[in-house]
Symmetry: C2
Subunit: 303 residues, 2 copies
């Protein structure tokens, strides 16, 4: 198929209001009365952020979901997205058809639509860049910088499943297919976005729990103390890596969780309390006796 | 420098209102009273859309300007952008410093600011994806689909300079450095955006004049007839390729011009009348006797 056929057949059916059926150069982004428009962008590169032979529908959905996770952590509900594809020669129509079907599935799941995008050939690996739009009641976006001494620290879901899945895919360990599924397909906490607006600070866990809480501590000018024993880990992950201090550190520094870590004065259904906000600076991981656990590398960085 | 140092030192100084100094996961996009928010996204890949050894400041400015060109063609004035960089190992701090300086220069020139972005390593070539935001008075965005029989067809500036510059860079010809400069650094018609709102249809010329007018003809359900002899070409380009019919066809099908082709009932300062809108379908290029000139390939496609 030509570039134009691809767009017309596979992607135009995904287009929503303001996208002009992908038949123009720009899109209009609808504003909502009483809301702020929130935007985020995250890119995935084959060989870095996913495996080139991952199922195309899952690659598409992961690329979309990592962006929805950023919106959710800020209390924003998603409304649409732009999609940029950089395609190597090896990508055929069947791949793109499955990719588009994956997008369609998640559009239904999250009530969002495609607004536009761009497509380019590349001599490099497949790369996907998505820009997602969401809305939050005016002034209610949750920043990184609002944590206050005395707040509690919480995290949604379980931490480390994705890292366990990656280890299995790399052949480093044998374990549950559910962990692999969690690596390939994050579950962004979109439904928690409205409740998260009561948090004092929040961030989505992509670099690693400790690293991301470090971003919150820095932006807020506080110290965050996390009790290692309180960090929620799934039975599958505990079966894979055990319950040693090293296993907990590994889970808390691996990244790709796409859960939400936040600080608040009160608990929230669906989240586990893991620590507290204190005066000071930095983030520390504590054992059952309150001793600091050394963490050599707090999370993932690209550099 | 680490990813975080790079962002803090080079890119945070470029951040505008709503970007939170690039210190959060999302940005807020300001809405303007009485305006629609317009968004566009265009990506450039080294080896495809620019040369890897082009000056980094010019690569940055081209990546930004091709997006501003899309906004301008729709009658929209720019306000901000998101920047996604996929960086191969060979890109060093000096490259990124020059790249950021190029962005700073164009931010001043166009009165826009950085709102956010993403940075990733890639085993492939340098790739840059930009999403640009602009505003247009409510309901005044210029679509592709509004051309009517009886309208005139216009184009801003001169056509083919960029293609001439590319031919020089490829060593296919020797010619003016001004043509090379036009290839490396488009001049989007941002200042014409308000006046362009009186156009019935418009498109920025990126695929090639004939191909892009073909998009307008298709979206509008009309036929567009272009007089080859009226297509504006610069003295430098005429010195490079001459005035043969083949030279005109080459200029009109090469792309990367980032001028605006539009249809309107009246002329506009800064634009040249090149043809007319008729009943029918498709786009034709006519010689001085009104005979159709065969055009084998109407413009650039990635596929």
């Amino acid at each position: 198929m030509t570039e134009f056929d691809l767009i017309a057949e596979l992607f135009a059916p995904l287009a929503g209001e303001g996208a002009f059926g992908l038949g123009d150069d720009v899109a209009l982004v609808a504003s909502r009365a009483g809301c702020d428009l929130v935007v985020t962008t995250d890119a995935l590169v084959a060989g870095i952020d996913f495996f080139a032979d991952d199922p195309p529908a899952l690659i598409a959905r992961k690329a979309l979901r990592v962006n929805l996770s950023d919106l959710a952590a800020k209390g924003a509900e998603p409304q649409g997205y732009l999609l940029t594809l950089m395609l190597p020669d090896g990508i055929d129509d069947a791949f793109l058809r499955a990719f588009a079907q994956g997008l369609a599935e998640d559009q239904r799941a999250y009530g969002i639509a495609l607004l536009g995008g761009d497509m380019s050939r590349t001599p490099g690996p497949l790369a996907i860049s998505i820009t997602a739009f969401g809305h939050v009641p005016t002034g209610r976006m949750v920043r990184r910088g609002g944590a206050k001494a005395g707040d509690h620290v919480f995290v949604t879901g379980a931490i480390g499943d994705s890292a366990g899945g990656l280890a299995i895919l790399k052949g480093e360990a044998q374990g549950s297919g559910r962990l692999v599924a969690r690596y390939r397909l994050p579950e962004p906490r979109v439904s928690l976005a409205p409740a998260l607006r009561d948090a004092t600070a929040a961030i989505d866990v992509s670099d690693g729990l400790i690293a991301d809480l470090g971003h919150v501590a820095e932006a807020s000018g506080v110290r965050i103390a996390v009790d290692a024993g309180l960090i929620p880990r799934s039975p599958d992950l505990r079966a894979l890596w055990g319950d040693s201090e090293a296993a907990i550190v590994r889970a808390a520094t691996a990244g790709d969780d796409y859960e939400v870590a936040f600080t608040a004065s009160r608990p929230l259904a669906g989240a586990t309390r893991i620590g507290r906000v204190e005066e000071g600076a930095g983030v520390v991981l504590l054992d059952a006796e309150g001793r600091e656990i050394a963490v050599a590398r707090k999370g993932f960085t690209h550099f």
